[in-house]
Amino acid sequence: MKTGIVYTETVVHAPPEQFASDAPYQLAIVSLTTGGRETVRITGDRVKIGDRVEFAEDRNSIPFYRKC
């Protein structure tokens, strides 16, 4: 199970054309426990900097993480 810590985040209200139906949605850069960082989408509860998150699922090959 991939886990990590939220390094930074935002909630997007003005999406690009292809994600128009998803907005508002939360994005986060996660510092992975295994090293490095990844930009991911958040599912479930909103997260803030310092929160622990875990991989939830891939949707259309987009990684979604959730608070743990």
């Binding site: 935002t10 997007v12 690009p16 850069i29 930009t39």
Partner: protein
């Protein structure tokens, strides 16, 4: 290396111009610049063009000869430079290099973007192409989202506040309201700025620069020939272009633009001046947080002190070091490919004492900082009176 001078400038208004196409904007700025320098198109030895996404915005490629030809410039090298929002800063850097090296003498440098013919979601998507489309963009990042994540981290590490960011917007709108070529000539209050519609939290619409059409041009020549063109040459004292990772998640510390720091160090060294000596600056406020970070990375204040520096009014028109007297990208507008050369025009106007109501008293040493993407390209230029 030869000394290089800006000997002519020309700008269109920035704004939404539904009846103007890309080429007509670029030609207007170029012809104003040639007229300012009293030079005919036949004297131009090379044409450097900054443009981010003409092919995506208006479906036109091969833009440099397309524009040059319409101005009567033929037979010389005409090249387009693309470096996201630093496209024309990059064109200017390379043009200065060619004149400094002695390859060319009389060079026209322009920047242009025509953005408003697309819908805002489409513009958002095209701009996102300056990020990492295999990573951050693929999962849904926009440019406001990337700078929102930068802002969140800066707030977390340094205690930067929403009010400090809003102060940048209030200041730049106050300045831009007095700029006849600005896109949004509207004064805004702190209350309005804080209550703006959210774009990407914590950024509201008032933290974001504008989607604009526009063009800008400068003519450069060796300093020793400047008097052939103008009685008020402005010298390029220092200039540097640098780069960094494109993807935000590949940077160690997103609260700093490393490329801006290194470009500034090089430009200060070349000019033989320190950050504290810079009297005024045009900074790349694509988002309010970007101006705050730029004042830190350029060494105007220590890391983390950019927020208070903005809120205390030290960068306002009558402050100790005015930043974005023109109104900045926030109020003047941000036709991305035109922005870098537009900044050079604005600094030159101050040094030539042609800034009207926005004229600064301490005007002999100015700096322009042009940022591409979320910091993967930076161009820092220091200009001085001769």
């Amino acid at each position: 290396m030869r000394s290089v001078a800006v000997v002519g400038i020309g700008k269109t208004a920035f704004g939404a111009f539904p009846d103007r196409d890309l080429r007509s904007l670029a030609v207007e700025a170029g012809e104003k610049c040639l007229a300012d320098a009293h030079v005919s198109p036949s004297k131009i030895e090379a044409f450097y063009l900054g443009n981010f996404a003409g092919p995506s915005f208006v479906g036109q490629n091969h833009l440099a000869p397309y524009i040059a030809g319409a101005m009567g410039i033929n037979g010389v090298p005409c090249t387009r430079f693309e470096a996201a929002c630093a496209s024309s800063g990059s064109a200017f850097y390379h043009a200065v290099a060619s004149v400094a090296a002695g390859l060319n003498d009389v060079v026209l440098v322009s920047g242009v973007e025509k953005m408003t013919s697309q819908t805002t979601p489409k513009v958002t998507e095209i701009l996102a192409g300056a990020g990492d489309t295999a990573g951050e963009v693929r999962v849904g990042a926009t440019f406001p989202a990337l700078f929102a994540m930068i802002a969140r981290r800066h707030m977390y590490q340094y205690g930067t506040t929403r009010e400090q960011m809003a102060a940048v917007a209030v200041k730049n709108h106050a300045n831009g309201a007095k700029n006849p070529l600005a896109h949004m000539r509207k004064v805004i209050t702190m209350e309005q700025a804080l209550a703006g519609k959210p774009i990407a939290e914590p950024l509201t619409v008032y933290d974001c620069s504008l989607i604009s059409d526009g063009a800008a041009a400068v003519l450069i020549a060796p300093l020793e020939r400047a008097s052939e063109f103008t009685g008020k040459p402005v010298r390029v004292l220092g200039i540097a272009q640098t780069s960094d990772q494109v993807a935000l998640d590949a940077k160690d510390d997103i609260t700093t633009f490393r490329a801006v720091q290194t470009a500034a160090e090089k430009a200060y060294r070349m000019a033989g001046v320190s950050a504290q000596e810079i009297q005024f600056a045009e900074l790349h406020d694509c988002f309010t947080i970007a101006e705050i970070i730029a004042t830190e990375d350029l060494g105007f204040v220590k890391k983390g002190e950019g927020g208070p520096y903005a809120l205390e009014g030290r960068t306002c028109l009558r402050g100790e070091r005015p930043v974005n007297a023109s109104g900045g990208l926030k109020s003047k507008g941000h036709p991305v490919g035109a922005t870098g050369v537009g900044q050079i025009c604005d600094v030159t106007m101050q040094i030539r004492r042609e800034a009207g109501e926005l004229q600064l008293e301490r005007n002999s040493l100015g700096l322009a900082e042009n940022l591409g993407g979320s910091g993967a390209t930076a161009v820092v230029t220091i200009l001085g009176a001769v």
